[in-house]
């Protein structure tokens, strides 16, 4: 059943890829085929957002329930969210090179995504700096919980309160989606594919960490037995 679902995801993403290049029309006002980056850049960014908010929720759950699995889930969500966020930054920079003539322009959107990356890079550094499992989980959870404010602020509020050369958000400042319907279809389908891929990878990585922790517990139990 799980394998069938995985193959359905393969098919879904393959169709999205085809649709991004051959079904969706080009957007007006963009150079050449550059508007097609939208179908990759925006879903990657939305998935990073989902991952970071997920990390905040799992961190909150950890602080309430103190279950190691919630800590692992939060850490994995940040790791994967970071990767999705880097990919969104790279695809955005490629588009900026075509439209604005340079990969990096210090546009408020670019600055805000870099600040998000620094925020979550610090989370990963924090985890790497503390050896004690319980202390690491507690401090990291408190830090990631702040992300529930930081992430929406940089993803959705900064772009709406600053002047930017970046194209309007999908839901624009008038609260409307002013995009050709086929483009909206491909964009949403691409987001569904990215989100499914995120949850699949999240599940695998979380299970790897659980196995590693179980093995480490087993080894320390054997060690303490041999000492006594």
């Amino acid at each position: 059943m799980k394998t069938l679902l995985a193959w359905l995801l393969w098919l879904w993403v393959a169709v999205v890829l085809w649709a991004a290049f051959f079904y969706a029309p080009l957007a007006a006002g963009f150079i050449g085929q550059s508007s097609r980056i939208l179908f990759f850049h925006v879903p990657l960014s939305w998935t990073a957002f989902v991952a970071f908010i997920g990390a905040a929720v799992w961190s909150g759950l950890y602080l309430v329930r103190r279950q190691p699995d919630d800590d692992r889930a939060a850490a994995v969500a940040v790791e994967l969210g970071f990767v999705f966020c880097v990919l969104a930054t790279v695809t955005g920079a490629l588009w900026a090179r075509i439209m604005w003539g340079a990969y990096w322009n210090w546009d408020p959107r670019q600055i805000s995504i870099i600040l998000v990356l620094i925020f979550y890079g610090a989370y990963l550094a924090l985890r790497g700096a503390i050896e004690d499992d319980e202390k690491r989980a507690r401090l990291a959870a408190a830090y990631a919980l702040i992300g529930i404010v930081v992430t929406p602020f940089f993803f959705f509020i900064v772009p709406r309160i600053t002047f930017s050369l970046h194209p309007d958000s999908v839901i624009n400042s008038r609260g409307k989606i002013e995009m050709e319907s086929r483009m909206v279809q491909v964009l949403l389908a691409s987001f569904v594919g990215d989100a499914a891929l995120f949850f699949w990878m999240h599940n695998l990585r979380r299970r790897i960490l659980a196995l590693r922790d179980r093995r480490a517990e087993g080894e320390s139990a054997v060690e303490s037995k041999s000492w006594s």
Binding site: W10, A14, L17, W18, F21, Q33, W200, L204, R207, L211
Partner: protein, 38 residues
């Protein structure tokens, strides 16, 4: 098909996606085996 055209970009994307997909599928299988053993 024009080299570097949309068709080629689609093929490269499909190859990368299929590679990642097969890797994840294999990883899932290895994990299930390890979980069964432990």
């Amino acid at each position: 098909m024009e080299l570097g055209g949309l068709g080629w970009i689609l093929i490269v994307n499909l190859v990368i996606w299929t590679g990642l997909f097969l890797y994840l599928l294999r990883l899932g299988k290895s994990l299930r085996d390890l979980e069964r053993k432990s």
